[in-house]
């Protein structure tokens, strides 16, 4: 293998590691064997081959693809970018109608070249996908595409699948948008250096997406991972319980059973432990700053419902309301002002709903502990902690931000243990510890 390819491959592996994909030296050697065997002639084959050697799960795939596009780019340099915006739109419409993926890829490159430059002189600042898409506006092509399809189909029998056409076109437009993003990253990498862009511009995998900075699409993707995550946790717990049940002998039942075999204990009886299913009470801050986090945690707990004997969910911004049976109506939780107020909410919980907490319950408080400079009401939290079996505070902020600004994290942490919980990965590990 040439030295250039080896260097590129190791840099690629380094970039993957930086994004939390654990690639060991053994895998790197495998990847090198793969690259040698397949050669560089077929890019998609190389992509599939390297993925097979380096990846250990599908959730790593998106990061892998984006990084692969940077280190093994489709082309080098720009394509001639003389086409005008209208001409590009027209050609894009044709390619979308025909679902011509090769043409779409070519168009994405041209569009970034023609419309994506910024900085002065053009191109010195970099290449922007959002600027390209803002100017090109591919989503506005939808109506035209549908009308054209209608015209084509007018002569034929109307078909059932016609009503799926809009979704299909939207799907193709999204595909094109992703191509533009990839192309813009590639051009930027040529300017700033591949390693730099790989570190900055590749979005992390969904498990490691920070709750606080997740955008709308990432939150939707997170919600889709709730069910698989819950299932994984449940099977892991079941296996742990099975293992824990083995081993300790129930002497009384063993002796009783041995009477049937003349006093010889042929079949020992094991002690059956019935794990106590904890009751869970959730207090969620649903103000905008931490809504994504609370939302996800509440969904995960609901999905794990049968692991707990009872789950109750309360939500607040500055007024507390029970939302166990759904119906997250934000108006009920907002009082005179729209800022979160932990003190009032904790006080209301301690006054009105303390009966929900029993010596068997675990209470989870979800929020960033930013009280907007109001009274944190530590006494209320202490009352809850006194009554519950355990109270944990999950904070989506990194510990370095605790106690900065209006955060009362340290004060609350002096009453109940506080854990940072920044992404789905950490949350999953916490919930696993929580359950018997």
């Amino acid at each position: 293998m040439t030295a250039g390819l080896t260097g590129r491959l190791t840099a690629f592996v380094q970039a993957l590691r930086a994004h939390g994909i654990p690639v060991g030296p053994g895998e790197t050697v495998d990847a090198a064997a793969v690259a040698e065997l397949l050669g560089l002639a077929h890019r998609e084959q190389l992509r599939a081959g390297l993925a097979a050697a380096l990846l250990r799960g599908q959730q790593q795939r998106r990061v892998f693809d984006a990084t692969f596009d940077l280190y093994f780019p489709l082309r080098v340099g720009g394509v001639s970018a003389e086409a005008s915006r209208d001409e590009l739109r027209e050609r894009l419409a044709r390619a979308l109608a025909a679902d011509d993926r090769a043409a779409l890829a070519g168009l994405a490159a041209e569009a970034v070249g023609a419309l994506g430059r910024f900085g002065n002189p053009p191109g010195s600042g970099g290449w922007s996908a959002s600027q390209t898409l803002d100017r090109l506006r591919p989503q506005t092509l939808l109506a035209g595409l549908l009308a054209e399809r209608q015209e084509l189909r007018a002569r034929q029998q109307p078909q059932f699948t016609d009503r799926l056409a809009a979704d299909q076109f939207r799907h193709r437009i999204d595909f094109f948008r992703a191509l533009v993003a990839t192309e813009a990253r590639r051009r930027a990498a040529e300017l700033a250096g591949t390693d730099e862009i790989a570190r900055r511009a590749v979005t992390p995998s969904v498990e490691r997406t920070d709750f606080l900075y997740a955008n709308h699409a990432q939150l939707a993707e997170l919600r889709r991972t709730v069910q698989p995550l819950a299932r994984r946790l449940a099977t892991r717990l079941a296996a742990r319980r099975r293992r824990a049940a083995r081993g300790s002998i129930d002497l009384r039942r063993t002796v009783r059973r041995s009477l049937g075999t003349g006093g010889v204990p042929l079949r020992p009886a094991y002690r059956q432990r019935r794990p106590q299913r904890p009751e869970l009470v959730l207090l969620c801050d649903v103000s905008n700053s931490v809504a994504g986090f609370s939302d996800f945690t509440a969904l995960l707990v609901q999905a794990l419902r049968d692991q707990f004997s009872r789950v109750r969910v309360f939500a607040f911004v500055n007024q507390l309301a029970e939302v166990t049976d759904g119906g997250l109506d934000r108006a009920r939780m907002v009082g005179l002002h729209g800022y979160s107020d932990y003190g009032t909410a904790l006080g209301q919980f301690a006054d009105r709903h303390l009966a929900a907490v029993t010596p068997r319950s675990t209470v989870l408080v979800l929020g960033d502990a930013r009280t907007n400079r109001r009274d944190p009401n530590l006494a209320a939290l202490a009352r809850i902690a006194l009554r519950a079996r355990r109270v944990y505070w999950l904070n989506p902020e990194p510990p370095s931000l605790w106690n900065t600004g209006d955060s009362a994290a340290a004060e609350y942490a002096s009453v109940v243990p506080m854990h940072p919980c920044r992404n789905a990965d950490q949350l999953g590990r916490f919930v696993e510890r929580l359950l018997p």
Partner: protein, 293 residues
């Protein structure tokens, strides 16, 4: 590491695609490439993905193409060494001891721990043969963690140690496929020894070819519609998404019903073939705009 260890069934990625196609398995580029690499590098292939995308079929197709025998180890909760590797035939050993009452214990012992009294289970069977073999370890995630440890040992060296007989090494390495539905995370150690392939629902064009290959009498336009609707169903939030197998079943049903286009009535009647939960059927009906009868 590569070179001598591979099973060498295929010469190139294109050949994999072509020969699997002849065996009735239409492979995407990713599948063909990974199968080729598993063949060349001699590493086990770990196939993960939702139910019904053809994980098991892939192993069968490779076996058919290579003219190899297929040895299958079906994993389930509680499968153990004696089910996966080998077992001594105790009953037969007892008979042998009773038959030779006069002989000394030494002679009897040397005799009862021989090949004749060994019951080989799938893993040992796959290693012992001299003909080409495809070993399929199905639903690996259902097995307990202990079995994974056993697999590790077998799959890294392709040898098994039977204390009474010695170590049995594979004369010819089998082509190994492990499948998993990801109900449990397989251990990192096992994953590291395998090539990883995630089989997902195929692209519409490929799925159309699969449907038409499996249901030969089907009209091309109808096949396209079937794939399109199944694709739309997969985009919905359902309890169970329709798999390729269900798309094929549905196409068969439509053929049997004699439908030549897909319309509301046909769809409402046959949606139960694709979706297996009443709630899913109701929700899909709403979203597709099927008026209730």
């Amino acid at each position: 590491m590569s070179g001598e260890t591979g099973t060498h069934i295929f010469a190139s990625v294109a050949e994999v695609e072509e020969r699997l196609g002849e065996a009735g398995y239409l492979a995407s580029t990713a599948v063909a490439t990974t199968v080729f690499l598993a063949d060349r590098l001699g590493k086990p292939l770990l196939v993960e993905g939702p139910a019904g995308v053809g994980k098991t079929e892939l192993a069968k197709a490779v076996a058919a193409v290579a003219g190899a025998r297929l040895v299958r180890l079906q994993c389930y909760e509680g499968v153990d060494e004696s089910r996966a590797l080998y077992e001594w035939n105790h009953a037969k050993q007892l008979l042998r001891i009773t038959a030779g009452r006069a002989e000394s214990w030494e002679a009897a012992r040397n005799d009862i721990f021989t090949e004749e009294f060994l019951l080989p289970r799938p893993l040992l069977t796959a290693i012992r043969g001299s003909e080409p073999t495809v070993l399929l370890v199905d639903e690996t995630d259902k097995a307990d963690v202990e079995v994974e440890g056993l697999l590790l040992e077998v799959l890294s060296d392709f040898q098994v140690t039977v204390p009474e007989l010695g170590t049995i090494t594979a004369e010819r390495r089998p082509f190994v496929v492990l499948t998993s539905n990801a109900t449990r995370e397989l251990s990192e150690a096992l994953r590291r020894r395998c090539l990883f392939l995630h089989l997902d629902f195929p692209e519409p064009a490929l799925e159309e070819r699969i449907v038409r290959l499996r249901v030969p009498g089907l009209d091309a336009a109808l096949a396209a519609s079937v794939v399109q609707v199944v694709g739309a169903l997969r985009a919905m939030e359902l309890r169970k998404h329709p798999s390729v197998a269900e798309a094929v079943d549905w196409a068969r049903t439509l053929l049997a019903l004699g439908a030549d286009t897909l319309d509301e009535t046909v769809l409402r009647q046959s949606l139960g073939v694709v979706l297996k939960h009443q709630e899913d059927i109701r929700r899909a009906g709403e979203q597709l705009g099927l008026t209730r009868p």
